[in-house]
Amino acid sequence: MPAPNGMAVFATMLPTTLLVALAAVGGLLGWLRPGLPPSFHRWLGALALVGAAAAALVVLRGVALTNGVGLAAYAGGVVADRFSTFAVLLLCGTGLLAILTSGAAEERLGPRLPAYHALILTATAGGAILAVQVEMGMLVVGLGIVVISLVGIVAMEKTAEAPGVAAFRSLVSAGVALALMLYGLAIVYGATGSTDLAAVRGQFLHSAPLEGLGLALTLLGLAYLVGAPPLHHWMLQVASASSGAVAGAVVSIAVAAGGIALVRVMVSGFSATMHPWVVVAGVLGAAACLYPALLSVAAGSVRRLIGLGACLQGGLVLSALVGSGRASDLKPAGGVIALLFGLVVFVLAIQASFQAVARLEEDGIGGDLAGVRGLARRSPMAAVLLSLGLAGLAGLPPLAGFLVRILVASSAVAGGYAWVAVAGVAASAIYAVAVLRWIGAAYVEDDELPVVPHRTPRLASVVGLACALFGVVAMLLAGPLLYAADGAASVLR
């Protein structure tokens, strides 16, 4: 790894710095100039995210000059490499979608809209730190920023009681998750005497139970972000209580940041050769797939169905992790490639689904099965968004979620964990049955209710539809996307 220097510090932290700086500017302007139109803050946020993405691409150029090894700073605590570039681009894209669709929640957010945008930027910045960190201190800082920002975003909707309760519960869950992770890291530090993840890997004794416990606790803490049991309730709560746009933003950023943190810490840091955490990830992944899938059969509202679907995607992320090592023939099992490709697909499917919820809210249509009946006639756009979003979450073809499941199952089998693949496939099938019930109701059961006028902001509609259609496009463009994911994963091997 090249020696750290001032240029490396600048390069590795450039996207984060840009995001934090423009979040501060946006927040201050919102406070000092409350009369500024919402679109100003929206485009300022978008500019920050596009700028951060551009900065990540510039850093990628610098990485290329180091033969792909990466730029290190802060005594090796942060690293900018192809993986971090991929991760930052994904996070910025996720944040951009959240900002562009915020118009749907404008009424409920009211004067807090600038703060909402600023928090999306800080959450993205926290995610960017998770993408570049390879050291325990930076990991805690990054995770803390993400968690606090997401809880803050949920709490921004003060017009109803439910979002406040959801924010509080998210905060409690986040506290537990952070505590678990800190305990885990403390145990690992105590056993190895180092906070540097790469150094920790070199000093690990594979069979030591205490170190295994440390890894397992760290994994549990990180798995909170992707909505894996036992700390999954916050995601369901947010999905049920927050408005569609806010829930979409929070859940998609959480899944993206969580997936990236899991790869950076567990794969890049501790390495998939550490057997204990991989087994725990397998168990957790299987549970995180099956539990929400089984619950989805009895889901009484579309919000809960989507929330459970998001938890299922988290389970698939964990399942992909178990295939992040080497196959029996010592070739890469492909778990990280599947995971990174999956994150792109999951984020967009989650966004599309919650945009459908936002559309239902705007159109005054209930989110239960009776409300969804005949949706295709009453609000065709909502029906298209809902069906594509749900089909994406369920992994039904021709959407790319289907391909993700094949890749995840393949990598789990290659990693020697066929039972995780079986659980993932079974869970996807169960969830698909639940989803078909709702899609069927939207298209074939018509209660002759009146057609509703469209009130959703045009930008939010267009972005929502683009997210939904991306599921099909990603299937066609799977080759280039997997190539990019492979490039990002190659530095972790």
């Binding site: 492909g334 089998v413 492979d486």
Partner: protein, 516 residues
Amino acid sequence: MNFLAQTTSTTTTTTGVTFPTLVLTAMVWIAVVFALAALLMPNQTQDQLRRIKSIGSTGAGAALFFAIWAVETQVPNAAGGTGGIPGGDLVEQHSWLSSFPIASSYHLDADGMALSVIVVVSVVFFCAALAAWRNQRHVKLLTVCLLTLETASLGILVSYDWVLFLLFWTLAIVPVYVLDRAFGHGHGTRTATRYAATSLVSAGLLLLAAVLIAFQAGAQSFDMGVTPVSLPGDGETVAFWLITAASLLAMAVVPLHGALLDLEEDSTGVLSAIFAAVLPSLGAYTLVHVAVGFFPTTSGSFSLFFAVLAVVTVVWGGLAAMRTDDLRRLIGHVGTVFMGLVLLGVAGHTSIAITGIMFLLLARGLVIGVLMLLASLIQERTRRVRISQLGGLAWQAPFLSAFWLLATLAAAGVPLLAGFAGDFFIFTGSFPAHRWASTVVLAGTLLASGALVWTAQRVFLGASRDTFERARDLGPLELTYIGILVGLIVLIGVVPGHFAELFQNGAGYILFPGVA
């Protein structure tokens, strides 16, 4: 450079530019292109609905055109031994997912087995699209779902890559589910959900088999073009049974027949015809082409299992056909009996038996399609589906009665009709290995044939009833699509040799791929 030149050979060098063949791609995707066009059409007025129906018929017709093209480019090559086996003129292969540790490609091809089912699928869908002209409910939904289902069905048959195969297999579930929800008689949600769950289980089993094969075979590829597959340890047996279980679920053989039979009974005429004629054939194709084709030795070692299952399926199906009072369920049971014959052919494990399966699937699809469409026409005219409530229809509807009788005879395997060749080859090919099973299966098929003949007597013969005096015979549109199916039944029965070499080559490739 015209399209014909591009599609009849893999490479054309007259201009120095290499053109890929496009027949299979065109055949598979043309229907869904028309489905997208229908999706974007307004559907408020009668004129607009007619336009959507036109798009549906044209899309299915275009797929049929390319299907005939694909078959007819292979028939002349069959005599030379190159038609009916993979790697011929129809092959299309393009890199798709090369960055993942297991590579996947857009690989389409068709052997004799696939071509036999392709004919059925494309013809039945075209006739169903014509029959759907009388439908006035959910017109756009019906058109879009039918065309999507056709693309999925044809895609299953020509996919030579596991990812593509699974994609089409799973894609087929959604339109079937939605159609049954939309057009089901009262139990739509329950039957549709049951069928979707069954199909998703079969898709999951296939996915696990695909992953197992891709890894254990050592090729690090999802390509299905390399057969037979050799897996270490018990991997081969496990993969074989995973595929077999998935196929048996889709074929709806006893005791796994409930979901599909309920679906067929619950749906309207056009849909019943497709569900009964097409869906089990896709399962049979998967069993023979994939399970047996990938693991010919392993499948041979379990031939007793298939023989026993064939006996159970045929006897159960035959008895149930005799006992049922529901016209559509009767046809469903007859379809189950046909699937029992397929199992007997697999148990026979000879080229003759596998050739017989191809003929049988070709005949079965056409016969079951005709019977289901006729059953829906009878229901439409009499408002009854109970056999005991019908009678004397031959007086009011002589053409309808004649076509039913002809389809019944074809189902019974009467010479000069399509069903004969399949039955003959299967029994001939299976008898040496499973004499008792073949004999019992033959008796079971006689039961099913007897049930059909008895039904014909109860429904069409006897004194004319006043309640049905206004029941009319087949109109021009109905004569057209029923005529197409019946014409093919007769044509294939009279000149089975047109396909014989194609199917023989395909059967040889399935059982002895190295030799072929």
